[in-house]
Point group: none
């Protein structure tokens, strides 16, 4: 059931040539397209290979199992997402904590909204693999970035910054995910974002030394 799950986010196999990288991209894009167009059930190796314009055989040189393809797909998505969060954290270093929260929520929310269909499709692709390692690695990267950011706030010092950070990150990410699961109107979603920010700010107010 569980796929061999390397604990790192580094790509399993570095493409040696531009050609390989292009093929890899084509496969990823194809997989995503199939997933979006026809759902998880239609995500067969042949279908992906066909849409990517390569043979199944070739695809099996890049991915030893179907699971490894799905794994890599999620890896890639989380890689980009983590990058965005890190960029925001860097940009917010040393700024007031209220701004940090707004920026973090905004970044994550937009990342999920931009291609909401992809987000949802990937959530569903997770059944096919053991994503624990992936999630763990993502969490570690994000935790490091947000903890550093929070620590740099000039207007707040926290007794247990790791705890505050865990709470904020879990609440923000969990809320955003949940908002996607329910079929909320755009208006409700916008309002929800505002409330979430208010809540986080109120919490930080409490928690700051």
């Amino acid at each position: 059931m569980a796929v061999a799950a390397p604990a790192t986010l580094t790509p399993r196999k570095k493409p040696r040539q531009a050609r390989s990288a292009a093929t890899l991209d084509a496969i990823f894009e194809a997989a995503l397209q199939v997933l979006l167009a026809d759902g998880m059930r239609a995500l067969t190796t042949t279908r992906v290979a066909d849409r990517a314009g390569v043979s199944v055989g070739t695809m099996y040189q890049y991915f030893p199992h179907k699971q490894s393809l799905i794994y890599a797909l999620n890896e890639r998505y989380l890689e980009v997402l983590a990058g965005k969060v890190e960029a925001t954290c860097r940009a917010q270093t040393g700024r007031p904590v209220a701004d940090m929260l707004a920026a973090l929520i905004e970044t994550y929310w937009r990342a999920k909204t931009e291609r909401a269909d992809v987000t949802r499709a990937l959530y569903r692709s997770v059944v096919e693999m053991d994503n624990e390692a992936l999630v763990e690695a993502f969490a570690r990267r994000v935790d490091a970035a947000t903890t550093a950011m929070l620590g740099s706030a000039p207007d707040a010092t926290f007794g247990d910054v790791r705890m505050v950070n865990l709470a904020l990150v879990t609440v923000i990410f969990g809320t955003i995910r949940n908002a996607f699961e329910r079929n909320l109107s755009q208006a409700a979603i916008d309002a929800l974002q505002v409330e979430l920010l208010a809540m986080c700010r109120a919490y930080v107010e409490l928690a700051r030394g």
Copy 2:
């Protein structure tokens, strides 16, 4: 992909005899066991029937599709969960808002923790069906209950109780779900629950008229 999705949470077919009800229970329990032990991939009709101690044919007298079994499984789970939330809301009617929040979080958290494995397994079973109707119905029931509860608080009146309610419910449920997705230590989980409550209380403080 999508299963025929009745918009209600009422069981599709009332078992006529005690014998039938027992069989139905055995099937549900078997499906859950398989799901827990071997994951979604192993949840085949034969396997479930075998473990339930009935023949496939019998299983197909209770469920027209494999999907309908999974659907019913989730229906059942959400039914119980919604019932617990409603009970809590009834019990907290007229009590201080801070108590309400503590009780709601406690109830939901415990429900998820009691059989955390089941919770996780069911989250994953969702790929196989269209659970939109189910989630919607669950959300409506819970929203009604929590909104009524909040409205009854003697120590708080809200400008837009529906908005406050939506925010609280989404944050609480989302956070708890997210806490489960990550592999947190029990200590971290306990601490998180405390923080979540603090955050919700701070938010309500802000929102109350």
Copy 3:
């Protein structure tokens, strides 16, 4: 594969009571209806029993296999058909041979046309059983009747009446069956009947002593 095939056309089991006969009739009628409405594929024991208003168990008291039901269905049909041919033959005894031929063709053609759908459905039901004995018995009955009729013609004596009879019966029945297999217009069918009669008369002219 082959069903136990009694060589006679007599019913396997004489219904003792009116009740039984009614049930039997209901089963036959139900089978025919299902066959007509949904084809051979839909002809399941449960479906027939349901439509007949009895339980499968009861049906299995009348017919030991599904095949025996189909067998009996064909038996019944051929019984009626043979009866019609025999009646015609009796009626035509001693009449001119040209009249005999016209009457025989007319009788058989009308029998097939009256419920053309039943005819076709039954043709198709034959896959499920070994109808050799049935066909043989039918052929014998008809041969006896037609041979006797031909022998009684005042205006013709045949060198080998059995041969002439075999030729006529095979040609007439075969032609009519074939006419049904092709999708001919009503006009074509009518014209064909006329030609068939002409052909048979010309043949008899030749064959008569």
Copy 4:
């Protein structure tokens, strides 16, 4: 019930390589063997594939459904049969009408007799598909050939050659089919062929201008 039925008799998919053609032949031959040995009920995809020495998967690369295999089987058979009739018609062009009839009957009868078992097996395979289009196409081809042949006879002109042709073809083919359905002795069959020819000749005598 009905299979997608292309209105032509041309093969659906040209095998690209000699290897493929061999496989296709093996599958056809296997299907025929199973049909002959064990009847329609035993004609399962696995059984055919096994006997053909290929895997089910391979079989499904040639035929999208079980039905399409049966369809192709009949298509192939009728193709050969129509070819034989056409060849005879070409050979008999311009010859006396009595010779034409003898040749046509002889050709058709021999074609059916050569592999009488195959003939009978295929008759039975028809339940599984909608052979209307197939039969129609066959009829059209044969009608065209025989009508042209009859029209070329130097010793006969017909008022309505299409009508005469329809009568002859229906009678001949129907009679021959019927002769196969009954379990006639070889002697009876031979005699029948003679009588059929006599009948057709007598009819043509009548019909010729």
